[in-house]
Point group: C2
DNA sequence: TTGAAACCCTGGAGCCACTCCAAGGTCAAT
DNA sequence: ATTGACCTTGGAGTGGCTCCAGGGTTTCAA
């Protein structure tokens, strides 16, 4: 099948398919006489796998490791374990820091009591004041230090 | 003060300070005879504000809006409200999707029962199988569709 | 037969919020 | 005179795509 059909069946954009090929996650398919890529269902399977892992918020590097395991079933299993465990820890750390963040924002939102202008706005006053506070979010270690990875966003689903 | 001292007191890198200037968040300071930037405490205050908002995971665009409000205290306050509310909703949506993700990963981790090789690894089998499943994470709308923004990571705190 | 629409190709730029580097200038202390 | 710590600029890199320009190909209908 051509790239358009493959992309549609894998529910992603053709650009993304080509990107995965360039990134080394999808093996380059044979070409037709006109230069068009010609995919098989094996490619579709691989793409489905990648998509599933991306939905689990794994990085392309991690997925690449997993794909190696898929093609070489004789290696030890514990690397896979560790990969998933690491992923889980990342997610849990991120949830914890987002919860701190949420409570900060809730406090902030309650500062505004129907004032009319920015000069009277409690949110803004709070933000300006808090920036000096040694005990505030940006000085405490509750955010940032515990989650210093470049955390990937989940894939979008709006490719129709 | 020079950029090094400013950066140290604002707890960020000199690169970041220059980046904020180029991005229009920090007004360009006067220069000394040798071309060095010469900052005042006003710049430090502004940087503290930016840093605090970044710790609340706001985008530079949002912070830019807030900074406009700070300098023009006569505008209406509800835009600030909406900004914080939007931020809060983003965070809550993200928490929800990460929770789904966490449970998926927990299921996945329990698939591995001390097998030795990747070929027998339950995690991998589950991943391969789940990729075909219409009801799995990557096909359901629970992740991705509800959080289709390019969500920024919180700033790192490892600049010492 | 002509033409339009729907595909395909490549390479390159853009997004965000930095981070790092190279190549050079400046300044104080030794 | 030289070392080392600072400063300057511009440009490239990160991840994971997404979009675009400028071209070629195929398929369908009028």
């Amino acid at each position: 099948m051509r790239i358009g059909e493959l992309a549609k069946r894998a529910e992603m954009k053709t650009d993304t398919v080509r990107y995965y090929e360039k990134a080394g996650l999808l093996p380059p398919p044979p070409r037709r006489h006109n230069g068009y890529r010609d995919y098989s269902t094996l490619h579709l399977e691989r793409l489905a796998f990648i998509r599933h892992c991306r939905a689990l918020d794994m990085s392309l590097a991690d997925i690449s490791h997993l794909l190696e395991f898929v093609t070489r079933p004789d290696v030890k299993c514990d690397a896979i374990d560790r990969l998933i465990d690491g992923q889980l820890m990342q997610v849990q750390t991120r949830i914890a820091s987002l919860r701190t963040l949420e409570s900060q924002l809730l406090v902030l939102r309650d500062q505004c009591h129907d004032q009319k202008t920015a000069g009277e706005c409690g949110i803004l006053q709070e933000l300006v004041a808090a920036a000096h506070d040694e005990g505030c979010v940006c000085h405490s270690a509750s955010i940032g230090e515990t989650d210093a990875t470049n955390y990937p966003s989940p894939p979008r689903d709006d490719q129709d």
